[in-house]
Symmetry: C2
Amino acid sequence: MEENSLGMIESELAILLRRLTSISTYKIGSLDRSAYLLLQQIAYHGSSGVKALSDEFRLDISTVSRQAAALEQKGYVSRIPDPLDGRAYFLQITDQGKTELNDNKNARLAIIEELLQSWSDEERMMFGQLMRKFNRTLIES
Amino acid sequence: MEENSLGMIESELAILLRRLTSISTYKIGSLDRSAYLLLQQIAYHGSSGVKALSDEFRLDISTVSRQAAALEQKGYVSRIPDPLDGRAYFLQITDQGKTELNDNKNARLAIIEELLQSWSDEERMMFGQLMRKFNRTLIES
DNA sequence: GTCTAGTAGTTGTATAATGCAATTAGATAC
DNA sequence: GTATCTAATTGCATTATACAACTACTAGAC
């Protein structure tokens, strides 16, 4: 095991990534991980183009383009042409998309709640905040 | 954004998974994520068979079998037949594997250190410990 | 205004990690 | 000893991804 905190973080991050991946791979509800993130981003941060989304998630534009097409095909997002740029458009979440996102979020929350049953409020708070801080750190890099 | 801690954890976990995946996908040093985890597990927890490793990481046996074959081919692990079971064997890390693992770990540590430059010792400790706790929770589920 | 360079998005192709199914060979139970 | 179970391998299909080529549009230089 690791003595120092950096070593521990490094090691636990690797394991976390491995375990989270295997959980979220066989998807939760009807939205896979990418679809869920995309929908969430659009829902919480407003409609957005493929380029912006691909930057946000550090994915290739082509990947996001396909994910967006899949979401559109399912009726969870719709495209609004960008009035200022004929090449671009905005992805906007539909009512159906909102419902789906909400259901999915609840399913995910239920899993987390179950997992963290025995955690104290303070531990939960700290964990959430430290992860948020870490995520912000990651995006700047 | 999320008000309550469970919501925050849920949300940040999804983002963390996304960002970590994209970092570790274009591999660090010469070991990809799976190879690194496998080597690490063998190095720190002693030699182990394919079955045990696949349980540990919740991967299909076939996946681990391929990863192990790749590591063996590179000379990072060797197989020791299980004297008690003719079907099974143990994977043991070689000296070359130890060197490789160590170099790789240092490269990863350097990245983490860079990212967490501005974090306090206490934050680092908390983050590491909470992740470890969460990882243990995950494996029991 | 027109030409050139740059950019948003799509689609084709390749790759890598994975799971599942079938198989082999050895172990265990009765 | 026969039937069942299990560790590992290998073949096959799927999925997420990146990269490259392409289209259509924009913006800047002149």
